[in-house]
């Protein structure tokens, strides 16, 4: 017999052990989401320190040493702590409900893959308080800056990365196993919702490249502590080898971040257009094509490293190709809206902004893929602007949209629409004020990861900082709205919540009960 979850009324002990020992996909999804939000706030705080220091030329608030720790920690925490766990959280909540499964295939491993994450980040952040400070070599941690020249705390960083990798691999295996084995009868692969499709493909990417990352940090560990010289030129090693290994992980990683976001948007746009997703099968093929291509373009991050021209040309052509499947997705979303019956609730606003701003980031991506021009863009603020357009306006906007979209289903209460819209506009405007000028800064010659800059860059940096504070402020509103909804929100009247919503998850009662689909649903 199914028993309900312990609540605070059962006492703190029971309540805490519920969360500690839970194997319920919804509980674990919730844990992932809150963890991700906490990391988002922490990574955001680091960003605020960076933007405050860059508000004016000169060193005002912090020393360059600490500045480098801030840029590094910001990148690591946002990528591995905020964005990735957010989508794993969504996967946990939604995949079983979307394919008609009672839970994830491997519930105990699910618990483990979440609960090691807080330790990974506790280890990583604790280095900030140690002698020598935290990692200061950038989120891409190029050797030998991260080996021979790194502070001793780099060993904690390596350990932390290993744990994060293990967590991601377990999470991915679980998702693959669930989707392969637990679909309701009649749910063929080509009937699976887009979010499920994008996540399976992402999970395969993760299983493929996380071990590569683990290999890279293990080689670092050996170089630092056991006298090998994989990356040390003085011992016959090659620093460029590190970059090849890192980006063989790193480029698929950026698609690991964006593919689930594509999935989310492919649900929200049809809902608020009241019209089915246009070109479902081409969406699936495009996603697979993007995933495949992501393995063969890695050295576009290394155009200035001095590769032979044949290598440069190959990586340039291959990178340009990515624009084709990416374009297909964008056209499909827009055509889904065409001749729909559109309304603009908060999730839809974030999704539309996603389409526009992500596409903008795709355009700068195309420009970056041209090797001769990239020699001017590389490692400047132009690149910083590019990847924030795809990762913040892409992944983070879509994550925000997902929370607003499914929150009423999760807790049976409606968020405050006005507050959501206000948050959207502050975030949208703040985001563009922050990152649009960074294109100009980069083109005019400002390198990234600079603690200080010449006077000619002063104006746009100030504008960018103001935008960043604005964008940061919008997140407080987000937190407030979510907490208010869970605690004091209006109960949703319609169990389906959104007029245009389609899919198994909306056939369940609202709020979704603790255990769902104990008996598999019938698929037409």
């Amino acid at each position: 017999m199914a028993h309900g979850p312990a609540t605070l009324a059962d006492g703190w002990g029971k309540y805490l052990s519920r969360w500690l020992f839970t194997t319920n996909h919804k509980d674990i999804g919730t844990l992932y989401l809150w963890f991700s939000f906490a990391m988002f706030i922490m990574g955001g705080a680091f960003a605020m320190v960076i933007r405050a220091e860059l508000f004016q030329p000169g060193m005002q608030l912090i020393k360059p040493e600490f500045f480098n720790q801030m840029t590094t920690m910001h990148g690591l925490v946002m990528v591995f702590g905020a964005i990735m766990p957010a989508f794993v959280g969504l996967a946990n909540w939604m995949i079983p409900m979307m394919i008609g499964a009672p839970d994830m295939a491997l519930p105990r491993m699910n618990n483990l893959s979440f609960w090691i994450l807080p330790f990974a980040f506790a280890i990583l952040t604790s280095t900030l308080f140690m002698e020598g400070g935290g990692p200061n070599f950038g989120w891409t941690f190029y050797a030998p800056l991260s080996t021979t020249y790194a502070p001793d705390t780099v060993n904690y960083f390596i350990f932390g990365v290993h744990i994060m990798g293990a967590s991601s691999i377990m999470g991915s295996i679980n998702i693959i196993a669930t989707v392969m084995n637990m679909r309701a009868p009649g749910m063929t692969y080509m009937k699976m919702p887009m979010f499920v499709w994008t996540w399976v493909i992402t999970a395969f990417l993760l299983v493929a490249v996380m071990p590569v990352l683990a290999g890279a940090v293990t080689m670092m560990l050996m170089d630092i502590n056991f006298g090998t010289s994989f990356f040390d030129a003085a011992g016959g090693g090659d620093p460029v080898l590190f970059q090849h290994i890192f980006w063989f992980f790193g480029h698929p990683e950026v698609y690991i971040i964006i593919l689930p976001a594509f999935g989310v948007v492919s649900h929200i746009i049809p809902t608020f257009s009241r019209k089915p997703l246009f070109g479902y099968s081409s969406m699936v093929y495009a996603t697979a094509a993007i995933a495949f291509l992501s393995f063969v373009v890695w050295a576009h991050h290394m155009f200035t490293v001095g590769m032979p021209i044949a290598g440069e040309l190959y990586f340039m052509y291959a990178t340009m190709l990515i624009a084709v499947p990416t374009g297909v997705k964008v056209f499909n979303w827009i055509t889904t809206m065409y001749r729909g019956s559109l309304t603009f609730e908060t999730p839809m606003l974030f999704s539309i902004a996603f389409v526009i701003l992500f596409t903008f980031g795709g355009f700068t991506g195309m420009m970056l893929s041209i090797a001769a021009a990239d020699m001017q863009y590389h490692d400047t603020y132009f690149v910083v602007a590019h990847f924030h357009y795809v990762m913040v306006a892409g992944a983070v906007f879509s994550g925000t949209a997902a929370v607003y979209y499914w929150l009423p289903k999760w807790c049976g209460k409606m968020y405050n629409e006005t507050m959501g819209k206000v948050q959207f506009w502050i975030a949208f405007i703040g985001f563009n004020i922050t990152f649009m000028p960074q294109h100009f800064l980069g083109l005019a010659g400002m390198p990234r990861r600079y603690a200080d800059y010449g006077l000619q860059f002063a104006d746009w940096n100030m504008v960018s900082s103001i935008g960043a504070f604005m964008y940061g402020g919008a997140q407080i509103l987000f937190l407030f709205n979510v907490v208010r909804t869970i605690g004091w929100g209006e109960p949703t009247k319609d169990p389906k919540v959104w007029e245009g919503a389609e899919g198994l998850e909306w056939t369940l009662p609202t709020p979704a009960p603790y255990h769902t689909f104990a008996k598999p649903p019938k698929i037409k």
Partner: protein, 381 residues
Amino acid sequence: MLKRAQALFLRLLSPAIALAMAGGVSAESTTRQLNMPQGVTEVSQAAYDIHMIMMWICTVIGVAVFGFMFYVMYAHRKSRGAVAANFHENHVVELIWTIVPALILIVMAIPATTALLKVYDTENADIDIKVTGYQWKWQYEYIGEGVKFMSELRTSQDEIYGRAPKGEHYLREVTQPLVIPTGKKVRFLITGNDVIHSWWVPDFGVKRDAVPGLFTAAWAKTDVPGIYVGECTELCGIGHAFMPVVVEVKPEAEYNEWLAGKKEEAALYASTIGKEWTFDELMVRGEEVYERSCAGCHQSDGKGIAGVFPALKDSPIALGAKEGHIAVLIDGVAGTSMQSFADQLSEVDIAAVVHYERNAWGNDVGDVTQPLDVLNYKKNQ
């Protein structure tokens, strides 16, 4: 604080005021430039051209796609009574929007390839210059000429930390710029000494990583004399933002004169290395060298940064026999960021800075370290 707030307010209020206020930052500066510079070489021009082509193509596609999207958002909204259609496929359209972008890409690949060929055309150079990235300065060596020098940031710590007003060339000035002649094809052979740096001169369209153990080549040829400023673009530690690249392009005759002067300087230095220096002379020179080459890590007060860079004040090495101290500078400390300075500093500079460290901040050893001591150490190695 108030002044800052006021400036901010004015800037927000009107970009025009901001322009007027901060106008004329520096003669060669690229004040409030928004786009990539066209630069002064074939390569930078090629990069600029392909950048502009790409930008226009993206703009046209963007206007078309977003234009359509905004039309849809306006025309097909529920509040205007739009009723949803129910189509969800159209193979012809889908094929078109797969093939057309692919065709555009193929067309774009042509200029992209020619531009890249230009970047890699490093054969038949007239002059070869070796560029080495150090934490946190550049070394330039004119191959075959016997001329070699360090180029370091000249902006003072006081300007950086706001204890003195910032000069008009803030962070864009170095002790000695690289000098090259007009009208000659100059090849840069770029490498790194410690970590990876990246040598970038936007106006030449040259950006190359300076990787330890690896040489990469880039080139420039220009007819436009002037001073061109660039940066280090690969994160290389705490001094990353403080190692600009400055290149001065001179007409050929002036360049030859300059090179001859450099050679003379080197000869003159070699003849005076045996001179006895006094205690105070060495202190003055030593402090200069220390601030430039050592203070970045070990700090001006000699106290270092706990856990990263050891203190020199009261350190056993600084207070011990001077040979041990000289050895650290000449050989570096393996496996740490303390590099060898043998190649970066002259014997006089090494002697001066050792002397300074032994006698500053209460390290009162009281002896004198002469350039000859350094020379002897090198000979005995």
